[in-house]
């Protein structure tokens, strides 16, 4: 991951050029940041920016959100004082070079994910692997949750999945341990949020959309998906349609 010689490609925006499109408040921050910048050479900071870009790209492979503490520990190190400068520039690079957006999904705990700003390429021969199949399962769950009013009980979800020959207790030929996939992996990736319902004994869980799902897709898109599968117009489900049109989304 280390780069001895970094080529100054057109993708990297230098700190000074960015000043042009800054608002006055950002100018103030920049001037403070630029004082810190003077402590480190420009090459060093550029180096850190590209290291961060690579770090984020690799960390995103498993779709597990990236913690700011990890970023600070593994990449930023002693450049902590110019942290925001580095992160902002890394974000710009990701956007301009890769078409990816760095999004903070938890402003309290500072957790980030990468999402694509480009629409998905269409084509017949795109790669299909386990991630593809898992996304199919996830979409089914997300659309079920939305159509049922943004929240569903675990019993209802598993009963629905049973109709699709997916059983929590059995090993699935594609997904393996489905229960683990749904209740642990999807939750860790922040696609789903599963919380226990109080006053239930034995404990039951509530399924909701996680913050990653809210960013990577939208209610409108999931409604479109349901409509396509069922061969109906999205407006067929009037209240869900109203809700979907009203909610903001990345798409």
């Amino acid at each position: 991951m280390s780069q001895r010689k970094r080529s100054k490609g057109s993708g990297f925006s230098q700190g000074e050029e960015g000043d042009d499109d800054c608002t006055p408040s950002q100018m103030r921050v920049l001037s403070q940041g630029s004082r810190n910048l003077e402590r480190h050479s420009r090459e060093q900071v550029d180096q850190k920016v590209s290291e961060l870009v690579q770090f984020l790209l690799v960390k995103d492979q498993k779709k597990i959100p990236i913690k700011r503490s990890d970023i600070l520990k593994k990449v930023i190190g002693e450049y902590k004082d110019v942290y925001s400068e580095i992160v902002n520039r890394a974000g710009r690079t990701l956007q301009q070079v890769f078409g990816l957006q760095l999004v903070e999904i938890d402003t309290k705990h500072h957790i980030y994910i990468l999402i694509s700003t480009l629409p998905r390429a269409e084509g017949e021969n795109l790669r299909q692997d386990d991630q593809t199949a898992k996304l199919g399962l996830l979409s089914v769950i997300l659309s079920f949750i939305f159509m049922k009013g943004n929240s569903a009980k675990d019993g209802a979800v598993w009963e629905f999945l049973r109709r699709l020959r997916v059983h929590p207790g059995e090993r699935h030929e594609v997904f393996g341990d489905v229960k683990k996939l749904v209740m642990e992996e999807f939750v860790r990736q922040k696609y789903l949020e599963i919380s226990p319902i109080p006053l239930t004994d034995p404990v039951e869980f509530k399924f909701q959309w996680g913050p990653r799902a809210a960013k990577e897709t939208s209610k409108r898109e999931m409604l479109r998906f349901v409509a396509k599968i069922q061969g109906k117009d999205p407006a067929f489900w009037t209240s869900q349609f109203k809700e979907a049109e009203g909610s903001p989304g990345p798409l």
Partner: protein
């Protein structure tokens, strides 16, 4: 659940279970009053306690402080019949059963068309008429919590504006999209289990996933094409490779001699093969002109993947030259049928749209086809060096 007798106010040794007098219910000083209270709940019209019950209760009222001195109460003391341990245990069991059945059949109870929740409430009400002690009352309270949670959920599902979402229909449509091959199911009514019969192909979820990707803005997984490490690890691998090459060289010397022989007649061999297969096809079509041959039956050699690929290669010449046509039948399986002679090759080229197709067949797929279609013998026999041609029908 603590024993009803273990109320905080009276530090008394545990006496017989039938002693229900130690109820620390602040609102009443009499046991009897508690059961009256319950009677109120059940029968809306009743105002005052029933005279017969109050007789025994009045006894206790006169000596509220001395109540705890009575270790044993006569069985008939409690008018509402919860006096002895056995019946109380029975009530507790019935409550537990009721709670369990409500929990297990939750989805059923939520169904807006079912009145099961009401029935359960009525049963609990009946049970409650036999309750006079805190322990059973606690179970009743537990049931009440459960029932009211369910009631709340049912109310939630009644969203007057929310358009009903038919999830079973959605599930069926999903299965259809995934390519469910619905075979005729004779016996059981699939509606009972809520599960469709039929064969779901192994790429079902991948197919669905490919569709759903359009609705997501997922960042593609980033992987370095050449690996993310620097050069060190490959070195030991090279050493191993060199060793393998050393042992392999001798065998290679033997092989080229054979290869050379084949190469000379390579061109002719292909044409010969194509002709042979064409002859086979035409014979078959002459015998049964209306029955198209399944493509798989024709080309698949269950014993050799390589020959299968060769067969497909040879058959493609036949199709290219217009002697046969490849189509999909009603089950979407490929069949091969003769192109009529009188259509003429030239007309064929101009009038009909000629399509190109690329077929791919992996070793795994080949094995699956052999299994699925139960192909035991190859229809196209192995190429023979002699002039005689082998013809085996599948």
């Amino acid at each position: 659940m603590s024993e009803a007798g273990g109320s905080g106010d009276f530090s008394s040794p545990r006496s017989s279970g039938s002693d229900c007098s130690r109820l620390s219910l602040p609102s009443t000083s009499r046991n009897g009053a508690v059961s009256e209270h319950k009677q109120h709940r059940l029968s809306s019209g009743v105002g005052r306690p029933r005279p017969p019950a109050s007789e025994e209760e009045e006894e206790e009222e006169e000596e509220p402080d001395v109540v705890w001195e009575r270790p044993r109460r006569p069985e008939s003391a409690d008018a509402t019949g919860g006096g002895d341990e056995r019946s109380r245990r029975m009530i507790r069991n019935q409550y537990r059963e009721l709670i369990y059945s409500v929990q297990q059949n939750r989805e059923d109870m939520l169904n807006s068309k079912s009145s099961k929740l009401t029935e359960a409430l009525e049963e609990a009400n009946k049970l409650f008429s036999g309750v006079s002690c805190a322990r059973e009352a606690a179970l009743d309270a537990q049931f009440l919590v459960l029932a009211s949670n369910l009631g709340k959920e049912k109310a939630n599902e009644l969203h007057s504006e929310m358009t009903a979402f038919d999830s079973p229909a959605f599930a069926e449509d999903l299965l259809t999209f995934m390519g469910l091959n619905r075979i005729e199911v004779e016996e059981n009514d699939s509606d009972n289990e809520g599960i469709s019969g039929g064969y779901l192909p192994s790429n079902a979820w991948h197919k669905l996933g490919a569709e759903t990707e359009k609705y997501f803005r997922r960042a593609p997984s980033f992987h370095y094409m050449l690996g993310s490490f620097k050069s060190d690890p490959p070195v030991p691998r090279q050493r191993i490779e060199r060793q393998k090459k050393a042992t392999g060289r001798e065998e290679k010397r033997a092989m080229p001699a054979q290869l050379k022989k084949m190469e000379e007649s390579h061109q002719e061999a292909t044409e010969k093969e194509v002709e042979r297969i064409l002859g086979l096809l035409q014979t078959h079509f002459k015998n049964d002109p209306d029955i198209p041959i399944s493509f798989f039956d024709l080309v698949i050699d269950p014993n050799s993947f390589a020959r299968t690929v060769e067969n497909i290669f040879h058959v493609s010449f036949i199709i290219r030259d217009g002697f046969a046509r490849l189509k999909l039948d009603e089950d979407k399986l490929p069949i091969i049928e003769p192109a009529k002679d009188d259509e003429g090759k030239d007309d064929d080229r101009n009038a009909q749209a000629r399509n190109q197709a690329v077929l791919s067949l992996s070793h795994q797929e080949w094995k699956e086809i052999v299994e699925t279609f139960e192909i035991t013998e190859p229809m196209i026999g192995p190429p023979c060096n002699s002039n005689e041609e082998e013809m085996e029908t599948a």
